[in-house]
Symmetry: D3
Amino acid sequence: MRPSGRAADELREIKITRHYTKHAEGSVLVEFGDTKVICTASLDRNVPRWLKGTNQGWVTAEYGMLPRATGERNNREASRGKQGGRTLEIQRLIGRSLRAAVDLKRLGDNTITVDCDVIQADGGTRTASITGACVAMIDCLRHMQRNKIIRDDPLKQLIASVSVGIYNGNAVLDLDYAEDSNAETDMNVVMTEKGGFIEVQGTAEGAPFDQDEMDAMLTLARKGINDLLDIQRNALEAP
Amino acid sequence: MRPSGRAADELREIKITRHYTKHAEGSVLVEFGDTKVICTASLDRNVPRWLKGTNQGWVTAEYGMLPRATGERNNREASRGKQGGRTLEIQRLIGRSLRAAVDLKRLGDNTITVDCDVIQADGGTRTASITGACVAMIDCLRHMQRNKIIRDDPLKQLIASVSVGIYNGNAVLDLDYAEDSNAETDMNVVMTEKGGFIEVQGTAEGAPFDQDEMDAMLTLARKGINDLLDIQRNALEAP
Amino acid sequence: MRPSGRAADELREIKITRHYTKHAEGSVLVEFGDTKVICTASLDRNVPRWLKGTNQGWVTAEYGMLPRATGERNNREASRGKQGGRTLEIQRLIGRSLRAAVDLKRLGDNTITVDCDVIQADGGTRTASITGACVAMIDCLRHMQRNKIIRDDPLKQLIASVSVGIYNGNAVLDLDYAEDSNAETDMNVVMTEKGGFIEVQGTAEGAPFDQDEMDAMLTLARKGINDLLDIQRNALEAP
Amino acid sequence: MRPSGRAADELREIKITRHYTKHAEGSVLVEFGDTKVICTASLDRNVPRWLKGTNQGWVTAEYGMLPRATGERNNREASRGKQGGRTLEIQRLIGRSLRAAVDLKRLGDNTITVDCDVIQADGGTRTASITGACVAMIDCLRHMQRNKIIRDDPLKQLIASVSVGIYNGNAVLDLDYAEDSNAETDMNVVMTEKGGFIEVQGTAEGAPFDQDEMDAMLTLARKGINDLLDIQRNALEAP
Amino acid sequence: MRPSGRAADELREIKITRHYTKHAEGSVLVEFGDTKVICTASLDRNVPRWLKGTNQGWVTAEYGMLPRATGERNNREASRGKQGGRTLEIQRLIGRSLRAAVDLKRLGDNTITVDCDVIQADGGTRTASITGACVAMIDCLRHMQRNKIIRDDPLKQLIASVSVGIYNGNAVLDLDYAEDSNAETDMNVVMTEKGGFIEVQGTAEGAPFDQDEMDAMLTLARKGINDLLDIQRNALEAP
Amino acid sequence: MRPSGRAADELREIKITRHYTKHAEGSVLVEFGDTKVICTASLDRNVPRWLKGTNQGWVTAEYGMLPRATGERNNREASRGKQGGRTLEIQRLIGRSLRAAVDLKRLGDNTITVDCDVIQADGGTRTASITGACVAMIDCLRHMQRNKIIRDDPLKQLIASVSVGIYNGNAVLDLDYAEDSNAETDMNVVMTEKGGFIEVQGTAEGAPFDQDEMDAMLTLARKGINDLLDIQRNALEAP
């Protein structure tokens, strides 16, 4: 039995709200159950210095959590004077994943920065961030096409992300905090519409995991990501 | 005429949503028109080192903005490695204002940290923060009483805050960004229920202001703060 | 009775010594009683990046205290690795005040940086800094005219600053440390020669203050600032 | 054909030199071909604050590269003032992997810090680090037993790590820099003696990878890790 | 001929003003010609952690320059966020020199921090700092004896410091900025009353120097330091 | 008797291994007994901003120690977020010394950065670094000539460095850690082939030292440096 009563292959309630804040070119509130992340995509008509002259754009991401997004208040990274290792690791993962979804050559001399800010955390903030960030980025790409900043759609494929893990000896999908903090193994998977893997990051928190467990987890991940892709597509159909 | 079409003494639409996120002892979404701030009050059963043994609690505040809360994306303070001068100035103001509302001696050996995080900015983020933070702090004080952490209510008085300014030669209440960025004078006022001033911070952005303009602004501030106090009281009546 | 025996509307002994150090284009030692601040104005034949091409100059300020300017030694900000919130707040105030005194368009592509370094503190360091910095800046403007760097005098008006407060229930002018640390209310005022307000920053340290107290304080401030302006004018008459 | 002429399932020449420097409780030079890493294990008779009183020890890792370990000189992290995201990500991975190899409860109130410093880089620095760090840690554990600091051996199992990837469409083992910088997919695997997975981190650098490719890579990884475990065991047999 | 017209073995005009600021236990303005440094000695009734329980006190120093102490304005170290290498090198030298003058065992569990802040620089700021800091420290030691904080005088000997160098092929004493910036060799010497060397730091800025030049410089240094010691003794005779 | 049994004028066993790592233009492992330092010289086809347009190159150095190069582990400077004062002092010394060996005008618009990283410390790390860095720099200069980056050899002279000190009342050469930590006086000397002094830095750790002791130390230094120069020349004769 999962703490939430969900079936092993059941996602939490997923919501994607577009146009959540008014200034950004793309702005999404993504909810994986009680995990809530604001993803905004900002267009910068410029590229990082090391890309100048290469005729290629860039997509990058930053990640943060409000200090009291969690059960215990965490010190504010801005006031501690640096981003922690976990934060840097997550934002590198989000950026890599998003870049896998677009053809950077079609972006022109432009940079899209996607900020993923967790306002409430209940497990799976990085997978929710990637899933929401992809939608926010697409809204930004549409803005760029509408405004003739780019001609062709740089989107190669939708991507989505979900966590899977071994909890009480069973493979389960989309772990919430109650499961995540007690899971034997935790694996984050990023996949494309066509079923390809972008990222697979599995960590044994307690006992090592074996090939069978990995296969069981990946099967669940594939199922969950298909569900998430449908939710993304639905959200993107609205204007 | 104001850009928003409001009367000179008219607040924007104000909303205070309590219990906005689930982990914090007090959590409020405060909206002054399009300015939206999440204020969470976190209880720490401890006091700063310099207060140990004084039998007195502490209230402090931190302030932040999501990078794309504004029209142009700002660099994330956590990634730049420090909070800017404006941020520090605002969080010092919020903290001082909140401490004026409570009897620290009745707080016991406890610290309340109120985080004010702007998710969308349209002028007046510091006055909205103070107004919302006061409600979040009160929810935290109620939590402490319910859980027998403190016996007596430390609240001395409600406080609220509003901006006033001289725009196109006229005194106006509760400036939004369109006014704020063009105002000749900008003044932030924090007041108590009994009509006392906690903070008055007026700055001539262009021409100096005179005593008559100051009086006109303070009259508007008094009116606006009374309206805000009513909205706070209404919000606090619900369970 | 004030601790210093001064009348309620009496400034401390004020001294302004020009040409205090030899390298700077403007260099002033300003003394408000035992509060002593070195204000130097440095000319940079350049403007910040965000002003390039706007045909407008800039004036900015930095503030510091020697570690043992105060009764207890404070850690050196350079060795702690950052300027504190109080420091940033004060230097922002000084810079804003000075910019109100000059026509930036007449400065050409030049920046004036005024450093205010407190070598001995006894209350009122920010008001002494502004009052002295204005004189140092004027010496720098004269240097620029003498050296044909600019043609017209960019000075719009003299500015000066003084603190007022409520001490033992009475409004008093120019608080020293003994009063400042016990005042119910502390207000810093920056005014021009023509009697306009540039900044009014009042803070209730204990009980809130009311309109009558504010009026009493502002009356004292006006008187004190007129005295300070006379002292500035006298100092500036010498070569 | 691989650039090095190796077979797809062939490791580079691996060397593990124990007692490489004289001060550390464990000191290993590990070489994966031209990748050379000094791994030192340092004993601290203490635990981090958050572990005090839990009767449990700790193992942690730090990672660095000499500035010119690589083809182009990188800025020194100590002089830039912070460790980069890649560095933090790698040292978190090494620490997690090592903790999976020991029973922290048997460590007593002691911390082992393993420093992995790359003196020459040619791809695979993180997998070489983990493989060498495990041996250095074991020398430190032996030191602790010899000196009666702990009674029972905390080692649960040997761990080793290797990279696998898809290069020119084929799965290959232990990528060197020439392959790594052109691989379509790069996967780092950490495994135990008993064949369990500790970490699996696969990233599509170009095209997404599919289940078949993942299976091919994991098969190679299993083979390579068995070879590495033999080399570790041989090295550990010497006194 | 020296730019200042001084003889080769002639010091600049030296002034030592005690009781320069009012808060510090020792406060000295030291002037070596146009080089002016405020040296304050602050007593802390405590020792650094690594000295606790050793029954030994500590003396340390910090050094700074006002941004416009020099011909060109330097960035403020507090705002750049770190002390530069030159600053750290100088303050380490001052601290080491002062510690050579006292018997730390007689200091009790106390720390003296001497802050040397250059308000005007014209060469030789480190030698002026050491010479003035020694006097400020002695005033602090006297304060401690007067207030029965320590019983015996910890002072072992006076120390003073001067620079010597090779300028235009000749050995010269106490270089000012005009000489210092063109000297072939620059040497800073710290000596005791009894003629012993505490520090000798010679650097060839252009051509290497030979033994004869070193001997000539040391002879001048000995002469200059004897003059400085007389000036220190005179200053210390006043109450 | 010295702890190592060496004669007073006897160096430790010195080894210079060129081509130690494969990427750098110059790479040397230098060993002074158990002190081992990797010195790499990296060519950058560029000059610092303040040298642009002066037709002059630059040589600079950075210094670091692996955390466990010493008997007790030191915190990693990269993770503490800054280089300590000792590190900065040493790398400034190395850079100044190397610049004395070359004619910067003959370097063209190029910068050579020499990194000295101590992998094992047993006293004298700065003198070993300078001695090894000179050889690494020369290999870089040869690389530049071979590749027609520069035409003429910028090397003016070989330099080498050694420490001398007063240990148990006697002058000794090339102190190891056992001596260094107990020496009354410690002096680091940098000299050229022609016998000129580049740097002399003597510090009395306990009692002051006198002229006779200085002379004795400098005689030893001269002898030691001649031996080191021979070893450098031998090393440089190989291809």
